[in-house]
Amino acid sequence: MERQTPKAIDLKLFYAPADRLRLTVDEERSYITVRPVWAAPLSHPGRYLCLLDGKGEEIVMLENPHDLPPDSWQAVQTELRRRYLTAYVKRILNVRVEYGATYWLVYTDRGEREFVTQSLQENVHWFSPTHLQLIDVDGNRFEIPDIRALDLRSQMLLESVL
C-alpha cells in the first residue's frame, strides 16, 4: 500500500482528451482526471501545489511545482488559470464610497472590471501590510499582491478607502 512519494520530475501531466488534465507517474500509474490546487495560494504563492484525483484525494503535493518537466508545468499552468478566476489588480481606475458600499473600477490581468464590496472590515483580507485581497458582494476575488507596485494614483485611491 505504501508508495514512495513521486518526484516532480517523474510526473507527466498532459491534456487527453483536450479538456481533461491527465497524470502519469513514472510511466506506471495513471490518473485520468487531475485537479491542481494551491495549498496556500496567498501566503506561499507559487509553492505547495497539490494534485488531486477525480475524487478530490491528494495524489501528491509539490513544494516547488517549477520542478515539473516543462511540458507538464505548462499544462498545469493552463489548468490553473482555468480554475483560479482570481483577477490581479494592475491599476485602480476609480473607487467611490457611497452610503456604506464601495464601488470599484479596476484594470486587472483579465481586463477591466467593475465591482462592489460591502463592509470592508470583513471583505478585505490583508496577508501582509502590502498584500491584500478584496472579495466582492458575490464572492469574486481580486488580489493586489503588492500595493507598492501599483501606480501612485491607484495607491492614493486605495489609501483613501482602506
Binding site: 479538456d19 481533461r20 482555468r82 478566476l85 457611497e98 462592489v116 458582494v137 458575490d138 469574486n140 476575488r141
Partner: protein, 729 residues
C-alpha cells in the same frame, strides 16, 4: 419562467425545435479574460456563441448524459458529460452568475432526459435600474437611489403618535430664533439712544429689563425644548426598535441563513439610533438653524444691504471649503471607525480566548498584535484630527474676516454718518450667529442620506416577507401520520438537496434518518418543522397538506431536541417550562424526572432555581441535553424531532439520555438523526439517505442483513469507534 431571457435576436430558424429555451450571457471570454460569451440551449442542441457571433461549440442534446456546475475558485464552469462518458467544460463564469448557470445545467439535464423544462432563470438585477450602479446585494436596494422623500415620510410616520409634541418642538424652534434676534436689537437701541446721546438712563434700564425678560424666556424655552427632545427621543427609539424586533421574530428562517446575526442586531440597534437621532436631533436643529439664517439675513439686509453684501462676500468660500473638505475628512473619521472595529475584534478575541493564549504562552505574540492595531488606531486618529483642526482653523480665518470687513467697511460708514453706531454693533452681534450654522449645512446632505439609508435598511427588514403566520389556516389536532410525497427542496434553488423523497411515518412510529453528512437528514427535519417549504411535492400530516394547517398550530405540536440545545438565560425551571409557561411546578419536576435530569438538578445549590445560560451557572453538555429533553417532554408534542441528541456525551450519560428518550418517544411520531448508528436500534424503521434520495428503508436488523449502504456505514463506524458497541443482534 424563461420570459425576458431570449432578448437577443433568434436565428432565422423559427421552428419549435430551434427556439432558444435558455440564453445566458457569461462574463468570461474563452481566453480567460473578462468578456462575453453566450450559452444557448434549444430543444435539440446546446451551443456556445462567442461575442462576435461565431458558434465555438455545439453538441446535440441527444448526446448529453448529464450537465453540472463545476465550482472553480471565484466562479464556475458548466460541464457536460456525454453519453460516451467524456466530460467537456464548455463555458466559464464568475460567482455572480454561478447560480443561474447551475440552474441552466439542471435545465439541460431535463431536456436530455426528455422531461419538460422546469427551471427558474428569472433575471436577477445586478445593477440599479435608475442610476446604473452595481447593487450591493443582488435584487437589493440601491443605496444611492432610495426614495429619500418617501422614506422620510414613512419615518415621519413614527412621529404621528407624538404629533402634539412634534409641533411643539417646531414652535419652540421658531421661538428660539426670534428670541435670539432680540438682544442685538436691544444693544443697538441702547447704543443709539443712551450712549451716543449721553442721556436717557431710564431707557437703558427699560431695555435691560426687556433683555432680562428675553434671557429668562430663552432659558425656559431651552429647558422645555430639551425636555421635549428627551421625551420624543426615548419614545421614538423604543417604538422603532420594537417594530424591527417584532418583524425580525417573524422573518423566514431562510433570512437568517443569508444574514449574519451581527448584521441583524446592528439594524435593531445602530440603524434605529441613526433614525431617531435624525428625527429628534437633526430635524429640529435643521429647522431652527434654517429659520435663524433666514431671519438674520432679512434683518441684516434691512439694516444695510451694502454692508451685508460686503460681509457675506467670504461666505461662498466657507461653504465651498466645508463642502470640499467634508468628504476626505469624513473618510478619515470613517477610517478611524474601522480601525476601532479592528481593534475591538482583536481585543474581544484575545480576552475571550485568554485561556488558550496562556496555555500556549502566546502573551507576547498577542501583545505584538495588539500593539500593531493600537498603533494603527493612534495614527489614523492623529491624521484625522490633524486635518480637521487645520481645516477648522482655516474656516475660522474666513469667519473672522467677516468681522474685519464689518469693522473696516461698516466702521467707515459709521465714520461718514451713513450708519448709526447701534446698527453697527447689531450687525456685529448678528454675524456671530451666522457662521456656525453655515458650516454645518455642508454636512447636511450626507447626514440626511445616511439616516435615510439606515431607515431603508430597517424597512427592508420590516417589509421582508414574514412566515405565513398571517395566512391563517385550519386548526388540527395532530394524530401523527407524516407523509412525504415526492418532496424536492434546495436551499439554493439551483442545487437540490432533497430529490424526490417519498415515505410515510405512521402515528407513533419512530423513524431513524441515516446517511453521511450532506445526505439531507437535517433538511428533511427542517421541512417537517416547516422552517422551509418544499419546492415541489407535498408533505401531508394526517392526510392534510401541512401548508393548510395554521403554522402556529403546527409548531405547537412539534417538539425538538436539537443537537446543541439552546437554553435561555433563566432558571432551570423556566427553561424546562419554556414551551408551557403555565405548567405547575409538579409537572416540571415530573418532566425532569422522565428526562433523568431530576437528580443532577437537585445537586445544584439552588435546585430548579439555578440560573443557567449566558452568565449563569455552567452546566455540562449532557445536563444541557437532558434539560432540553425535559423541555420537550413538558411541551408534549405529537411529532418529535431528535437531532443527534446523544452526540458528544460520555457513555454513562448517553445511557441516561437514551432512557429518557425512550420515555419521551412513546406514543409520538418521532424522527431521529444520530451519528452513532447504535442509538437508532430502537427505531421502528430506518430511512437511509444518500445525496438527497432514499436508498434503503427497513429495521436495523433487516438492513444489517441486507448488507447494503447502511451495513457499510455501520462497518465503517465500528472501525472508527470500537469503544461503542454496535448492536449486531
Amino acid at each position: 419562467m424563461l420570459k425576458g431571457e431570449t432578448t437577443e435576436t433568434v436565428e432565422s430558424e423559427d421552428t419549435p425545435q430551434e427556439r432558444l429555451l435558455i440564453h445566458l450571457e457569461s462574463d468570461f471570454a474563452a481566453d480567460g479574460q473578462f468578456g462575453k460569451r453566450f450559452l444557448e440551449v434549444t430543444a435539440t442542441e446546446v451551443r456556445v456563441r462567442e461575442s462576435d457571433g461565431v458558434v465555438s461549440f455545439h453538441i446535440p442534446v441527444a448526446e448529453i448524459k448529464s450537465a453540472r456546475n463545476e465550482p472553480l475558485v471565484g466562479g464556475g464552469q458548466l460541464e457536460i458529460t456525454t453519453q460516451g462518458g467524456e466530460i467537456i467544460p464548455i463555458i466559464t463564469y464568475s460567482l455572480t452568475l454561478a447560480s443561474r448557470f447551475s440552474e441552466a445545467a439542471r435545465g439541460i439535464e431535463q431536456l436530455a432526459r426528455g422531461e419538460p423544462l422546469q427551471i427558474n432563470l428569472e433575471q436577477k438585477r445586478l445593477r440599479c435600474a435608475k442610476c446604473g450602479r452595481l447593487l450591493p446585494e443582488v435584487d437589493g436596494i440601491c443605496p444611492a437611489c432610495i426614495h429619500r422623500g418617501r422614506t422620510l415620510r414613512r419615518v415621519a410616520g413614527y412621529l404621528r403618535p407624538y404629533r402634539l409634541q412634534a409641533v411643539g418642538l417646531a414652535l419652540l424652534g421658531v421661538l428660539t430664533t426670534t428670541l435670539n434676534l432680540v438682544p442685538p436689537k436691544l444693544q443697538a437701541l441702547i447704543i443709539d439712544h443712551v450712549f451716543s446721546t449721553h442721556r436717557n438712563y431710564i431707557f437703558l434700564l427699560e431695555m435691560a429689563g426687556i433683555w432680562l425678560g428675553v434671557v429668562v424666556a430663552a432659558t425656559l424655552v431651552q429647558i422645555l425644548n430639551g425636555r421635549l427632545i428627551a421625551y420624543l427621543a426615548g419614545h421614538i427609539a423604543a417604538d422603532l426598535r420594537a417594530a424591527v424586533y417584532r418583524a425580525v421574530e417573524f422573518l423566514q428562517v431562510s433570512y437568517f441563513d443569508k444574514k449574519q446575526v451581527g448584521a441583524i442586531v446592528s439594524r435593531i440597534t445602530q440603524d434605529t439610533d441613526r433614525i431617531w437621532g435624525f428625527l429628534v436631533d437633526g430635524m429640529p436643529f435643521l429647522i431652527a438653524n434654517a429659520l435663524m439664517l433666514m431671519g438674520i439675513a432679512c434683518v441684516l439686509f434691512w439694516i444695510n444691504w451694502r454692508l451685508t453684501l460686503a460681509i457675506l462676500a467670504p461666505m461662498p468660500i466657507v461653504v465651498i471649503l466645508s463642502a470640499a473638505f467634508w468628504k476626505p475628512i469624513s473618510q478619515m473619521f470613517f477610517r478611524v471607525g474601522q480601525k476601532w472595529a479592528r481593534f475591538h475584534t482583536h481585543l474581544n478575541e484575545s480576552i475571550s480566548g485568554i485561556r488558550i493564549v496562556k496555555a500556549f504562552t502566546r502573551e507576547n505574540t498577542e501583545f505584538a498584535k495588539f500593539q500593531a492595531r493600537n498603533r494603527e488606531l493612534r495614527d489614523a486618529g492623529i491624521q484625522a484630527d490633524t486635518r480637521w483642526y487645520t481645516v477648522f482653523g482655516a474656516m475660522t480665518f474666513f469667519i473672522a474676516s467677516g468681522g474685519l470687513i464689518n469693522w473696516v467697511y461698516g466702521g467707515w460708514m459709521v465714520y461718514r454718518g451713513q450708519m448709526s453706531l447701534g446698527n453697527f454693533v447689531m450687525v456685529n452681534s448678528l454675524l456671530g450667529l451666522v457662521y456656525g450654522p453655515l458650516m454645518w449645512f455642508g454636512d447636511l446632505n450626507q447626514w440626511f442620506t445616511r439616516a435615510m439609508a439606515g431607515a431603508e435598511r430597517i424597512f427592508e427588514v420590516i417589509d421582508a416577507e414574514p412566515e405565513p403566520h398571517a395566512r391563517g389556516g385550519i386548526r388540527h389536532e395532530i394524530v401523527g401520520e407524516v407523509a412525504f410525497c415526492d418532496v424536492r427542496f434546495g436551499y439554493d434553488k439551483s442545487n437540490p438537496v432533497l430529490k424526490g423523497l417519498t415515505f410515510t411515518a405512521k402515528p407513533g412510529e419512530m423513524i431513524g434518518l441515516v446517511g453521511k453528512s450532506g445526505a439531507g437528514k437535517s433538511t428533511t427535519i427542517n421541512l417537517i418543522c416547516r422552517f422551509y417549504e418544499p419546492d415541489a411535492g407535498v408533505i401531508r400530516i394526517d392526510g392534510i397538506d401541512y401548508r393548510e394547517i395554521a403554522l402556529e398550530d403546527l409548531r405547537r405540536q412539534i417538539g425538538i431536541v436539537p443537537q446543541e440545545p439552546f437554553l435561555f438565560h433563566g432558571t432551570i425551571a423556566e427553561n424546562i417550562s419554556y414551551g408551557r409557561p403555565d405548567a405547575r411546578f409538579e409537572e416540571i419536576v415530573e418532566a425532569a424526572k422522565a428526562a433523568n435530569a431530576h437528580q443532577f438538578i437537585l445537586a445544584k445549590p439552588d435546585g430548579y432555581d439555578t440560573v443557567i445560560g449566558e452568565r449563569g451557572t455552567k452546566i455540562s453538555g449532557g445536563e444541557r441535553q437532558r434539560i432540553a429533553i425535559a423541555r420537550a417532554i413538558l411541551h408534549d408534542p405529537r411529532i418529535l424531532i431528535l437531532d443527534e441528541a446523544t452526540s458528544s456525551v460520555d457513555v454513562e450519560t448517553e445511557k441516561q439520555i437514551q432512557e429518557a428518550l425512550q420515555r419521551l418517544v412513546k406514543g409520538r411520531t418521532t424522527f431521529a438523526i444520530a451519528h452513532r448508528l447504535s442509538t437508532l436500534r430502537n427505531a421502528d424503521r430506518l430511512i437511509v439517505l444518500e445525496k438527497g434520495e432514499i436508498v434503503e428503508t427497513g429495521t436495523h436488523a433487516e438492513l444489517m442483513e441486507r448488507q447494503g449502504v447502511f451495513y457499510k456505514l455501520v462497518q465503517t463506524q465500528s472501525q472508527v469507534t470500537q469503544i461503542i458497541e454496535i448492536g449486531m443482534v
